[in-house]
Symmetry: none
Subunit: 532 residues, 2 copies
């Protein structure tokens, strides 16, 4: 691979413009770490002038060691008629303290006169002075020429003058934006060539998907010589979204032989994409290129037959290249080999054709049909295998629980009370605990009761709790899937529960997570005994 | 418009290969009528040899009067080593009784030898004879050259020979299929040109979306001279789906000036697309180009300001061209002007600088900071404005509620019981209801108690319920945001609640949704009184 393209991710800034997305500072820091791990060159993380949360982010991200990614703050040119040193937006951007800034300015005369309501001349000053200010402050400056293509269509000379002003200010990168997603591939190609020929700068492309062409247009710009591609993971963004960086990354590196991320990281693509979707709480479409759960799923009989004979017959790449996997729909469960390898970790004597393998597969299928999803929950799979194989030792029995929630609450942070009675080896324990909500109360009560018998549970605590409503059409009686992540300070594990009752779904996941911990402790102790 | 392109819709055939899609015959007939109303040229409706449901469809569709669309049946070339008159697939295809048939054959030598396991020579005979058979039967024949592009890449000479065999059989249309979605735009362009130059036939393109390029590749093929475009509505299809015909239709006709459907039908595009999604029971993504609910939604403050001044500033077409509409989303990004226009709907005398505007803005900001999100919930905003402006009449008071959940449950589908006491104008009402989970029970109890005073509430029901956990690191004590959508059979509205207790968050949203309904009823009655 000789050619290199810088990927510039704006999931945290432009992606947050999508309906339904509102990242907390914690969310943003987590996504930053994921993108760095994948090897994305730039992370455009927010606009400090428009959002107080972003100011906190820029402070906190300095304490995170990033091995690959550069953090970039985004802001506009100075306001019209304001001196650069008095502009609050410019000040906020400087305060973000990043080495790189992206400055967007207007390249469409209509926006200058009708939206900003200033003169064409003043807009050029705003661009030139703002870029120059940040260059003087020692920053790398990317100039985002907003509406460059729309502007060029209407007033080509002026659109080019805005780029010239940015170059006069000393911009390092000229980014051509198809802000309205209105441009067709031939325009993108021709104008990208023209800009590179005229200014000789590093040139970037930033596309939107209003015509469903954002990925194609971005690739065409690279064909024309662009060396930086801006986009968002999974294409999140205002209106119809931005160019989908997850797809672009795979297309550029795997199909066009262009170096974007370290080659060995490509297999993280699916995990990172799904992780970001999870944090954004957006359901990743099954059919999303490369990373969707059906991107390599085969349903047609002839397709399944073909893939069984030769995978490439209906697969454009091997799914594991991007960390995804093949699936056969309406036929045998796909992950047989994955499941088998899990089974063998517990009992190495079991083979592909053992009746136990069939039983485990069948149980997984049933649960998946019911709404379970084990992708994020290997601990749950391990427990399930042990139970099906008869290798599970029960640690306790539930006699009953009762939960009482009330409003007005006596204590505002403790609106629920759980009473629980369990039995361990013939001995019963009844106890109660309060919590902020029914699941919290139940979790507290269960661990309180069990700690009497299993002191190691006192180190266990939940660190993540996710609820997903699965069939929203039935409103409050719809099924929910609860995923919880637990830690004992050394290891983390995740379990899952599904029910139409959120408390019951949580209960299933809670119990699994505790049973998993106790099983692991038991196994460890048994091993020690054997060694003795 | 001089140039015309035929649209060939395969939603009912290739679209049905998508995960989660299974059309009944009735579904197929309904979609057929929708596509005809829109003016789609061809409807590929099924493969009678592989699916008995399709046989019934082809019988029943003959009784429907179609004004624009031609129905096409899909099938393969005859099997290897079988005489054409004995081939069951060929017989089934003939029995479908359509004027047009699509015959797919293998253009990739690998598929011929390794998947079909026959000779390259026999495959050419299969193609030639099958096409000739249907031509002799008086049909229009479209030859689908499966894997044409992949095949050409590996054995260009043989791929071209398969097209030649189809031409010798008398094929009317040569359709070039990028079956694996593995081809890049320049390949599509060059090979489409080459085929048109060599055979001079009507040439079609059929793309898949594994690289996110199906729409772009289809358009490039049209640039190269293809006169027929195959796709599916909303891009449904195996793996990552097919070329999205809804997007292609708008791109070709509105952006490239190519005639595809009667001009006056373009505004049906959104309705037809959403109707098909509804029948397929697939949630249409908000950000789908042209037809998604957010395709023309604006969230960023500057975008909203721009669109208010001049719509084209951030809209590539006017949303009503395709029957969609503009939307302003409320968010931490959106400015004063959006809020003001909502305030003015209630009290037109209030201006941008009124103290009330400041108070409303402040309240929205506080709530957003707490975790509320109003972009999906305009009813919640309206209620909030009324409350801040002192224009809200309270309809009831909560005295208290208690919720009891228990396991084991006496009735498996009714694990929770809610007791509620409310007060309306001095009169108290206490009641209880069961539900599948605590929120369900509470919803049932609240509406039961209130219906005593407000009978119109008996028509009200929840149609959507979403839970989002916001700070998952705090595990079960994290804050949750609940969004509920309610209907009274005529109108739908959404409300939102945030709390660390899922029941309390649901309660807030439930109460808001009921208060909204009662306020609207009250306003309507008051208006009537004024008219009197």
């Amino acid at each position: 691979m000789d050619k290199t393209v810088e990927l510039y991710d704006s999931t945290l800034r432009d992606g947050a413009q999508a309906e339904g997305i509102a990242f907390s500072v914690e969310d943003k820091l987590n996504i930053t770490k994921m993108l760095d791990r994948l090897g994305i060159t730039y992370i455009e993380a927010g606009n400090p002038a428009s959002n107080p949360k972003d100011i906190e982010y820029f402070k906190r991200v300095k304490n995170i060691h990033l091995s690959k990614s550069k953090i970039c703050a985004f802001g506009s040119t100075r306001h019209r008629g304001v001196s650069i040193s008095d502009d609050i937006g410019v000040k906020a951007l400087l305060m973000a303290g990043t080495d790189t800034v992206a400055i967007f300015g207007k390249s469409w005369d209509l926006h200058v006169t009708k939206v900003l309501r200033t003169t064409l001349h003043e807009n050029l000053n705003m661009i030139r002075e703002t870029v120059a200010f940040f260059k003087a402050a020692g920053k790398e400056v990317i100039f985002d020429a907003e509406h460059f293509f729309d502007g060029y269509r209407q007033n080509s000379r002026y659109a080019m003058e805005t780029l010239k002003a940015a170059c006069e200010g000393g911009a390092d990168v000229l980014c051509l934006c198809d802000t309205n997603g209105a441009s067709y591939m031939n325009e993108i190609f021709e104008l990208t060539c023209k800009v590179i020929n005229r200014f000789g700068k590093r040139t970037a492309i930033h596309c939107h998907n209003d015509m469903g062409l954002a990925v194609a247009n971005s690739m065409i710009a690279v064909d024309a010589g662009a060396v930086q591609v801006q986009g968002t993971f999974l294409g999140f963004g205002e209106r119809c979204g931005n160019a989908d960086l997850s797809t672009l990354l795979a297309n550029l590196q795997l199909k066009r032989g262009i170096n974007c991320i370290p080659e060995e990281n490509m297999q993280l693509l699916t995990t990172v994409s799904r992780g970001i979707a999870e944090i954004a709480n957006i359901k990743l479409p099954h059919d999303h290129p490369y990373v969707g759960s059906c991107a390599f799923a085969h349903k047609g009989g002839m397709h399944i037959d073909g893939v069984r004979k030769i995978p490439q017959s209906f697969e454009h790449i091997s799914p594991d290249t991007v960390g995804n996997e093949r699936k056969f729909l309406f036929s045998e469960f796909s992950g047989r080999s994955t499941v088998l390898s899990e089974i063998r970790k517990i009992d190495p004597t079991i083979s592909k054709d053992s009746p136990q393998t069939r039983k485990v597969m069948q149980r997984i299928k049933e649960l998946e049909h019911y709404g379970y999803q084990f992708e994020g929950a290997p601990a749950a799979v391990e427990l399930l295998i042990r139970k099906v194989l008869g290798l599970y030792k029960p640690f306790f029995e539930l006699e009953h629980y009762k939960i009482i929630g009330e409003q007005p609450a006596k204590d505002d942070n403790m609106s629920s009370t759980a009473v629980i009675k369990i039995k361990v080896g013939g001995k019963s324990e009844i106890t109660a605990a309060q919590g902020d909500g029914p699941v919290h109360a139940l979790d507290n009560a269960l661990r309180k009761a069990l700690s009497v018998f299993y002191p190691s549970l006192s180190d266990v605590r939940l660190i993540d709790y996710k609820v997903r409503v699965m069939e929203p059409r039935d409103a409050t009686a719809s099924k929910v899937r609860v995923l919880i992540e637990t830690t004992d300070g050394k290891n983390n594990w995740s379990c899952v529960g599904v029910s139409s009752d959120v408390i019951k779904a949580s209960w299933i996941a809670l119990v699994d997570s505790i049973e998993y911990k106790l099983t692991m402790d038991y196994e460890k102790a048994a091993k020690k005994d054997t060694v003795k």
